[in-house]
Symmetry: C3
Subunit: 255 residues, 3 copies
């Protein structure tokens, strides 16, 4: 259905690995590297050029690398200069601007908009309609839910650009804003609808507008079970490297 | 302008009704049924396959049914397994994932993202940029306004998935979040910018973060008219089955 | 990379100026005027018809004018009846509905959704994912940040449509909602995450849900510099007509 070699453009300057599939209506521009076993589905643009392309005849497209075993869903636009590790995947209509760096096993959901010049660790999952401003730095195992916005200009409009920093394992729930330069620690939970303007210590639940620290995530007690779901790696393993084994066991092996 | 038979893909396993128009650059995949008099405009994907398609050579695309007299605007992606009643319409760039069920006369606005496994009644109108999480259940005559998010995981990330339930005639105003499992009654109004974490009784206006019940919608008095606009079916009939007749008269005929 | 004359549709009723580039997979419909030196990139639709087109054989597409030196990025949909001044630019996947009027030097960011029947002055910058409801009126030098929503129906659903009005130089920060009919003065700053339901005087900072006036923007003192960044034209000039000269000097020249 998707791979009929219909209306495809692949630059002669692109490098396409072994066992790569490219869907109909997709364009792969100059200096894009698609690693082995990756699927680029239909209607995608990979290696989207910088604005300079339109005005400079000597423009040279920076290198873009899509890691092995990735799955790029339809209508995704990935700018030049980006680098993605293995097993990267996107939903539909994702826009990822220049010089975005993602580790391995990351996912970016439908309509999400990554503004470029950002760094993600491994195993980050971004749900639909997430907006990550420039100069954001995100650790490993960070989950970001729909309609979350990361900002970077404290006095708009200005030339200041200081993105948020998010520690490993933290969860940013739907409809939250992380304000410029805010540092969120490890294993934090930002509750739905929060506007976070101050730094957050490790293991804190914060909530509200403005967001305030409420309690340690270990003290979020589930009424049914009488236990806390957090730190979540003890209770969730789908797609995680500790899937099918104990999280603590996996942690010890990392040392 | 839109129907030049340019770069169209229609699967031999699709069934196309009488008097159907299909726009340029559109793909209709396996086992899609397009009912009579429906218009699928340009750059759409109908019957988008499940992830299994990419990895399983024996994949069989579940049936997708678009009802009669529908209008699908450009760049809409509809997954396999969905069923839409008659007179369905979408804005642009709508994404509707697998096994979404819509009644008759429903509308889904531009960029909206329906996550799949949801049920809508008849005459539901979703405005632009609405996000409906999996396992949501929506009644009849429900209007959902821009940047509304329905969620389903109370302790993210987890394997729990309990969507909200919305009663007939309820209105969810812009920029509101309905939290997992919340039940909203009939004829309710959720005010702009609300985070709704508790069930809402019939005819209630709720507002705020966290949302609190303020009054019966019948007591929302318009300063100019001195009357309440609610229950709204008495004061709005465009596109509704009681258009041109009295709402109470129509109600009596339904009994 | 983008200009291979592949799968392009240009209506014989469109007028294409001098030195215009049109990207692959783009459609230019009836009665569109593309002014000189403008670049329409790939996968765009310019002159999208009104709904009447689908049902009326005598439909005539209203005129659409894109000003000179504009840059329309990929997957943008611009409806018929719109008029844009010079140096207009869009991000990706922008949707601009019918009869939207923009002055010169305006920018509309990725995924933004302009609902039509709106008026913008000159030098307005809309960031990603902005939603502007019908009947909104925006002055000059107005910046609107991601996930801002302008609404227009005070008692949804109804036939009332009264959009907000925004004065020159005002800034609407991320994740804010401007409620129907609200008038915001000149040089205002609406802080992140605000729901603005009351009119705002010139030079006011407003914040919160519901938004309340906090102080004059001149009294927002930066801790580092001990000075206020506002009114911002004294401290930001990139892309502005006073770039490289003093703002007051430029102001005097306008008189």
């Amino acid at each position: 259905m998707k791979f009929n070699k219909r209306n495809i453009y692949i630059s002669p300057k692109a490098k396409i690995g072994e066992n790569v599939k490219i869907g109909d209506n997709t364009s792969i521009y100059d200096n894009v590297v698609i690693s082995d076993n990756t699927i680029i589905t239909n209607d995608c643009v990979i290696g989207e050029p910088l604005q300079d392309y339109y005005f400079n005849n000597n423009y040279n497209n920076p290198e873009t690398i899509i890691g092995a075993n990735s799955l790029i869903r339809s209508h995704t636009i990935i700018y030049c200069g980006c680098k993605f590790g293995e097993n990267f995947s996107t939903g539909h209509r994702v826009t990822i601007r220049e010089y975005s760096i993602f580790g391995n096993h990351c996912r970016v959901g439908t309509i999400s908009d990554i503004q470029g010049y950002v760094t993600f660790g491994n195993h980050c999952w971004l749900h639909s309609n997430v907006h990550i401003g420039q100069k954001s730095t995100i650790g490993n195992f960070v989950f970001i839910y729909p309609y979350v916005v990361f900002t970077n200009d404290p006095t708009p409009p200005s030339e200041i650009c200081i993105g948020p920093t998010i520690g490993d394992y933290s969860q940013i729930a739907v409809f939250s804003v992380i304000l410029p330069g805010v540092k969120i620690g490890k294993h934090c939970l930002v509750g739905a609808g929060s506007i976070v303007g101050k730094d957050v210590d490790d293991y804190q639940l914060v909530l509200g507008n403005p967001a305030k620290p409420l309690k340690n995530v270990k003290d979020i007690i589930d009424r049914k079970t009488g236990k806390s779901h957090y730190p979540w790696p003890y209770n969730f393993d789908r797609g995680m490297p500790w899937q099918g084994m104990n999280y603590e066991e996996w942690l010890r092996k990392q040392e």
